[in-house]
Amino acid sequence: MSNTETGTHVSYLQHKGKYKGILSWLLTTDHKKIGLLYLYCIIVFFFVAAILGVLMRIELIAPGETIMGPQTYNGMFTIHGIIMIFIIVIPALPAVFGNFFLPILIGAKDVAFPKLNLFSFYLFLIGAIFGVLSQFIGGGAPDTGWTFYVPYSAESSTNVIYALIAAFILGFSSILTGLNFIVTIHRMRAPGMGWFRMPLFPWSLYATAWIQVLATPIIGITLLMVIAERVLKIGFFDPALGGDPVLFQHLFWIYSHPAVYIMILPGMGIVTEIFPTFSQKPVFGYTAILLSSLAIAFVGYFVWGHHMFTAGISYGSRWFFSFLTFIVAVPSAIKVFNWVSTMYGGSIDLKPPLLYAISFIFLFMIGGFTGLTLGALAANVQVHDTAFVVAHFHYIIFGGMGFAFFAGMHYWYPKMFGRMYSNKLANIAWGILFTGFNVLYFPLFIIGLQGMPRRYFDYLPQFQTGHVISTVGAFILFTGLILMVYNFVYHIKRGAIAPANPWKGVTLEWQIPSPPSHENFDEIPVITTDPYIFGTSTENKQK
């Protein structure tokens, strides 16, 4: 049906609304445009934070001071962490791909509260600006690490307050996005789309949204308490004011552990869309994948203590948290097995999105198993707060969520912009990126095991080899990323016109023109089958 329409339809990019020019973007309530606004902001911030990462790597190429002093270094990993976590990975997948594709995938014209959606974008922007400002005003870049551990964060003379406010506002933006998605999924599914006919990306967003709504307020209030502590001298956590520093860690991780699943679940959702399309085969174990998302979201709420194993928490809670940490790994395992089985017996087309999705599994496995290492009590004692942790979370965040993001970009780029990128360039960029990634982070596992602590500006000479290899990897990675971004930017105007359905996908976004029109669907589709039906039955999807 889409082919007949490509001639006449007006894409959302050309759509004439109430406002003209730049305002048509800044005041839009179109979920697709808001998604793109997020995308552009996130790329800019990613660039800033990534440069900080590379600078840190250069500093670490040799022991002692190389290009910056300790104060600068400490500020750098703090801002690197804050930007990466609060401004990039937590919002990235829900706010970019969730906004753009959630309504389309469930056959809706928009999210439930379009204005709220725009509002949460502005909250995001304000929060992000606060975050960046904290670098430049007065007391110097905050130097507490992204975890803001009290008492240091209550004492540091740097701009910790700005960073706290930034995280607070960003948290609210994230809550509102989550709220919007839950209501959208409940109320706006196309007729005929029962809960179990919903594609799995929306399902993963649904699980994510609940975490966003129910966990984020805790960090909100915690950060407020730290602010009150600094400004009004009300004691909560700082022992100098009578407070309890371990309680801060509890509250911080009650949010921040579930937050790591906010980061990864939508990423898992994206690759779950990609495997069936490029294998031309229904997803294997639809129900299992769906239930495992919900299980991760639920159990993930109760394992926060594994970040505090050495903080002197009680023996009973140490093994309790360790036990639950291992339980929460099982749903992840289920997903991995279902993904590889989805490919098995298919007709596999190794295009860039699939390449990224497969490397997602590879890197996620490494990140996940090292997570298990961290979750084991005895092993955690050795590797807690070492470079091993740094490698674990870069593998799982950057290698997992980051690669899922790249996979999503390659998968949906034609739909979002109506153009094709160069496959060849994408493959080359992938090769460099993947190599660089492993060269960058793998050595950190080894020096971490040997006892190289994290957040170290300086280090003992025996760790140098690992650091040098790692720094070289950063540059390889850098090259790959630049190439990938170049591929996207160059082809956004010059690429070949994308067909409506370049990958022969069957979910709803492929049934409408590329790029979609302002309201996505001329007529709301009526769903009569399960989401992943390939082959002859494709036509049945549409009424």
Binding site: G17, K18, T29, K109, D110, A112, F113, P114, K115, L116, I175, L179, N180, I182, V183, H186, R187, V213, L214, A215, T216, P217, I218, G220, I221, T222, L224, M225, A228, L232, K233, I234, G235, F236, L241, G242, G243, D244, L247, H250, L251, H518, E519, D522
Partner: protein, 206 residues
Amino acid sequence: MNMSIQENHNDHIDSETGKLGMWIFLFTELFLFGGLFLVYAVFRAKYSEDFHSAARELNAFIGTMNTVFLLVSSMTVAMAITAIQKNQKKLAMFLVSVTLLLAALFMMNKFFEWSHKFEFKLYPGSEVLKNLPRGELLFFGLYFMMTGLHALHVLIGMILLSINFIKIKAGKVNQAHYLLLENSGLYWHLVDLIWIFLFPLLYLIT
């Protein structure tokens, strides 16, 4: 594909959708206070003696009065919704203004209570407070943070209710469309709910 329809359609969210959104928002509010309750619980367990003696400093009578104000006001908003549903515009306006009045009384009480504390130099960071036993210090910290944040919510609720009053008067909130009033009502009840927990925890456990 008619644009004007699209734009309007944004303004009129159907009531089930709006209410679901509001409930989810209330959950986040609940967890926002939940963090404070958690801190309270931990400190109480650690310093229960100090908490006992510190709670005695609070005036249970003012607390009880405020509880009554909030409970009654909760009823009046609930009634205002009934009135709107029955299309009794005048009555609805009256009930909303009673609610506002009760809220104002609550805030007044709060104001006197706080200024009384300040007179005795019991404010965050003061010397008197610093010399109290550790648990009492924490108790007062929590007291100011919890009631302060709660008072902020009362204020927001008052603003919402005032908007409702104006809209009812203008006929924008009416028998057919009263989602705004319903949601503001829900919000107001939440403010009440939180107070229902705060009251015994701060004032009664002596």
